[in-house]
């Protein structure tokens, strides 16, 4: 049971990290080449 909990926790942690990458990318908007 705990194995499942920690496996799911790991997947959730990395999914959050991927969402975070997306959020940081979105925040930038258009590339600031000026």
């Amino acid at each position: 049971m705990l194995d499942l909990v920690f496996t799911v926790s790991t997947i959730v942690c990395f999914a959050v990290a991927l969402l975070y990458v997306t959020a940081c990318n979105r925040l930038k908007g258009r590339p600031s080449v000026d």
Binding site: S9, T10, F14, L18, C24, N25, S32, V33
Partner: protein, 587 residues
Amino acid sequence: MTTNGWLQIALFFACVLALTKPMGAYLTQVFERRRTWLDPVFGPVERMLYRATGIHADEEMRWTEYLVCMLVFSAATLMLTYIVERMQGHLPWNPQHFGGVAPDLAWNTAVSFTTNTNWQSYTPEATMSYFTQMFGLATHNFWSAAVGLALAIAFIRGIARKEMRTLGNFWVDLTRGTLWVLLPISTVFAIALVAQGVPQNLRAYDTAKLMEAQTITGTDGKPTTVTTQTIAQGPVASQEAIKMLGTNGGGFFNANSAHPFENPTPLSNFLQMLSIFLIPAGLTYTLGQMVGSRKHGWAVFAAMSVLWFAGVATCYWAESRPSPALANVSQQASDLQAGGNMEGKEVRFGIANSALFATVTTDASCGAVNAMHDSFTPLGGMVPMVNILLGEIVFGGVGAGMYGMLIFVILSVFIAGLMVGRTPEYLGKKIEAYDIQMAMLYLLIFPLVILGFSAVTVLLPNMGLSSLANHGPHGLSEILYAYTSATGNNGSAFAGLNANTHWFNSTLGIAMFIGRFLMLIPMLAIAGNLALKKSIPATAGTFPVTTPLFTTLLTSLIVIVGALTFFPVLALGPVLEHLLMRAGQSF
């Protein structure tokens, strides 16, 4: 403090200084894919690996792609280590017949080694099989260091490149960092450690008959007579070498580098300290070379050196002072005694080398220890803690120290720009709102996790405070140090805290995860944004990043940000403990 002690500290710094340029120049060659003398050995291996895994080495990645590859790689290797730990009872090279590691401890350890933290809530020689040590843990010592190195190089490319969308290829950087840098140096280093007496075998533990029977009191309070001693051994040298070189810090034995089988002589101790700083110091020269301003690399090196010296001088001073609790005993250094505080220190290393090791291991994100930080005086113990709280940017972890320092460099340039009312520029790149937003995200996550978890833990009598061996301000220091070490991916510990509980295993695991992955995402976002920018020629109004003024501003900024964020909690922990110690109260 003794002249001999200062001379050893000076010799250490001289060696770091002498190795910085050759190491940095070699790193540049490796990551710019120029020819090196190791190409005939590793070139075919590299090509074979790319063919086998379908990697197109010439395809470059944007910062988001680079990060996704890194996250996928880390997730896969984390789960692999978790499975190895859980299954070790059924796997080979387990002469002591250890069973599978408990789920929460296995997860904590897997996260710990994946994130380059190497926090150990367990006694390695009584928990981990040789297979787990070598395949589950030592491999992470290579991978996590190579990942850090790759990310630092990607950040430097972001600064160096102009109007480009890409930062390199993660798989290529990972492979070249492992094959060309970590593997050859750690092999030579492991052989040197074997020559100093570090074991390297796969034998079962030896049992020695004691000359004299000993009576010990067990955990149940009952006395037991002991007539034999189990002598743990194994493939120590190979793990020890990469443990130091990769700034990992996870010991083969519970006593870490204080154990005579991990660190038997003053020479092995010196080499271990040197190997911690070898790559991080070299990276300052790599920075200078790759961005086309060697002076900038040396200016960053100078800022790191100033902070290193402040740390080691404070720690050495604090540990050399007589303890007020022993007022009637001579504590002067002499031929017969080291003087000062020797509790928790190895006699063969003494105070100077213990203070230097503690400073170096926490300046970098290593976390190996050759003395027990919990036994340091309050101010002496505060130095390792402050080093981590500053972000481990004083040379720092392999790669992690460099990109952490570069965040402060960008902030320094930004503040200098604000002071004179100009748009801040860093090596020809305009620093804009997005860069500062990401830099602040990087800086704010760190204290949020440390102080948040510490605050919750001290409010939990049954899950948090019950793990403490010491109470009062020292107890707070133990909890604070644990979350600082985990979030900073350091891994050293103030002993005295039983961290092998569901609460600490889980929360420290989360702290390690956030401290690694959620901090490097905004960092690489800055790199990606910088690479996109045009380069503007320097003018008379551009703030130079090669001068002593820049080094002073950078050093001051690091200290001020650290002090503003963490002084209140340090005042309640080590500072209060120091004042109470002067008043005759100890914890």
